[in-house]
């Protein structure tokens, strides 16, 4: 691939014209002092997608991406980044993979401008840091020292440093942890812009909302294994009950009648209000049933399951 990876637009992962893998992880295992942290993880990230790694704390997410970045040596398994081995061909991988690490800092007295210039000098054909700083809202902060930046500004600087070598793929590890909701939403927009610019994004997170909003596909990692790998919608569809229906009937209703409806999971009632779980089909069945019995459903609410529900089911948390 020529030297202009950031400018072209990339087909989405769903595009039928044969997406090709940029990161391949096969049967990765890693243990520390006899404790297995990553236990046979496999997945493939296609060029141009935002791929999420989601999981509870301590699930092995960070260790997995550190192996991809070449910071750790896998015990067993095979990793390729654009066909390269991150350990044996580390130097070549660093030129196409930009990283934002969890819990890393810069020299406290280094200014934003100096950091951008320094990191730009590390790469053979870096991006111009000026427009990059502009796009990340750092122009006002160029003379500010790293130690005086807010959490959000530090994260934006780390995104800039991850992009400054014009990588084909960026790895963002817990990027929005510790940010306020406003800064988090701004950061999400940035991530979408990065992908629009043609860069593949590997996003590590434990925020459901973030994964659901941003990712094309998500690998849910739990206790070192891939518990599921699917689109956000696909994962939600796997939740034991994907829809919750609740209402207050105008006259009493037998539970048994409701429980007999198609695909009903559970039926509960409290203070005259009935809550049942099921699917889209259940919703129609409930409405038909009520109409047939001339019962009015007061305050009828239908809520889709979220990634939260799917996640809790998958990880048994």
């Amino acid at each position: 691939m020529p030297n202009t990876p950031v400018t072209h637009t990339t087909p989405t992962a769903a595009g039928g014209s044969g997406p090709h893998p940029i990161i391949e992880v096969q049967s990765l295992t890693k243990s520390y002092a006899g404790r297995t942290v990553v236990d046979g993880v496999s997945f493939v990230v296609e060029e141009g997608e935002i791929f999420g790694i989601l999981g509870p704390n301590g699930a092995g997410k960070t260790t997995t991406v550190e192996c991809i970045e070449g910071l750790r040596v896998p015990d067993t398994g095979r990793i390729r980044v654009a066909g390269l081995d991150p350990v044996a061909e580390h130097a070549a991988v660093t030129r196409i993979l930009g990283a934002q690490l969890q819990e890393s800092e810069l020299q406290a007295k280094l200014t934003v401008r100096e950091a951008l210039e320094l990191y730009a000098a590390f790469y053979p054909s870096p991006a111009d840091w000026r427009p990059l700083a502009e796009r990340l809202g750092l122009t006002e902060r160029l003379a500010t020292r790293f130690g005086r930046l807010s959490g959000g500004q530090k994260q934006r600087l780390f995104i800039a440093l991850a992009l400054i070598g014009r990588p084909r793929v960026v790895v963002l590890d817990e990027l929005t942890t510790g940010l306020d909701p406003r800064a988090r939403r701004d950061t999400w927009e940035l991530i979408e812009e990065i992908r629009t610019g043609g860069v593949t994004v590997l996003l590590v997170t434990h925020f459901m909302e973030e994964a659901q909003r941003l990712c094309d596909r998500i690998a849910v990692i739990d206790r070192g294994r891939v518990a599921a790998l699917d689109t956000p919608a696909g994962l939600i569809g796997r939740a034991a009950s994907s829809t919750t229906i609740s209402f207050t009937p105008s006259s009493p209703l037998e539970h048994a009648v409701l429980a007999a409806l198609p695909q009903v999971g559970s039926v509960q009632s409290k203070d005259g209000r009935i809550t049942l779980s099921g699917t889209d089909e259940t919703v129609n069945a409930v409405v038909t049933l009520l109409a047939r019995h001339h019962i009015t459903a007061h305050q009828l609410r239908v809520a889709d399951a979220t990634l939260d529900d799917a996640f809790l089911d998958l990880t048994g948390a």
Binding site: M1, A92, R95, G98, A99, S104, Q107, K109, A121, F122
Partner: protein, 260 residues
């Protein structure tokens, strides 16, 4: 290396990354006024204070006829090395590791070793500048003769700087946090100052003590610098002790240093 997917014009352009690291670290060094004072100011200041004591300017038969202020020029030279290598450098390097700065650099085409090399180079250079300052002030303010055996002096100086940096690197390697590095540095600091002759010049120490102190890096350095200052080629025994320390300390530092 070239593969199907990555063309590699990518051998980073010559020395550009190194120059950028050097420029950045030199700037950051300049932003630590306390560090600059202790390395560049303090040793010369000590020499000035001692030189202002009248009795320090009288020839002392116990020192072989030279004055105490003459004997304190090499001491202040060694002091700058000890402060630079042992007090100033280890907390910086350990902090870089502790705060993930080395790890962050590992994800770029530049090896984090560039940062360590630069820090050692800057601290070594600062010690040499401080040495020149001490020699100049000694010469101009107190009429202390410049080293008569200049090459021998320079060689002893070089080995002493290497030993000081290697000792500092070992402290950095053994310390998990910059606080621990500061603490270990301070504990090692005083015996090293003693050996360099801060309280009593090595040449004035009683025989047995002097023999023991001469086996330490800064005791050997003090003796070698004294010999070169008075015009003799420094004894190979002293230079050898210094060289062995420099090799042993840097090997141990390289062996135990952790990047994270």
């Amino acid at each position: 290396m070239t593969t199907a997917t990555v063309t590699d014009p990518a051998a980073p352009r010559g020395a550009r990354p190194w120059r950028a690291v050097l420029r950045t670290e030199a700037r950051l060094f300049g932003r630590e006024p306390a560090g600059i004072f202790w390395i560049l100011g303090f040793p010369t200041l000590l020499l000035v204070v001692l030189g202002c004591i009248p009795s320090f300017r009288d020839p002392d038969p116990g020192l072989g006829g030279i004055r105490l202020v003459d004997a304190y020029v090499p001491v202040s030279v060694l002091l700058s090395m000890i402060v630079s290598g042992l007090q100033s450098m280890p907390p910086v390097v350990t902090g870089y590791r502790e705060r993930g700065i080395l790890r962050r650099m590992s994800t770029t085409p530049v090896r984090p070793g560039a940062l360590l090399g630069t820090q050692m180079g800057l601290h070594g250079a600062a010690a040499v500048v401080s040495t020149c300052l001490s020699l100049a002030v000694g010469r101009l303010a107190f009429d202390v003769a410049l080293p008569r055996q200049a090459f021998g002096y320079a060689l002893a100086l070089l080995l002493a700087v290497l030993a000081a940096l290697a000792l500092g690197a070992l402290v950095s390697a053994l310390s998990r946090t910059s606080k621990i590095a500061g603490a270990i540095g301070s504990v090692v600091f005083f015996p090293m100052m003693f050996c360099a002759g801060v309280w009593l010049p090595v040449r004035a120490m009683p025989g047995t003590l002097a023999r023991v102190v001469e086996l330490t890096p800064f005791g050997a350095a003090a003796q070698a610098l004294d010999q070169a200052a008075s015009g003799d080629w420094p004894s190979w025994a002293h230079l050898g002790v210094l060289a062995v320390w420099a090799v042993v300390l840097s090997t141990a530092a390289a062996r135990w240093f952790r990047w994270e």
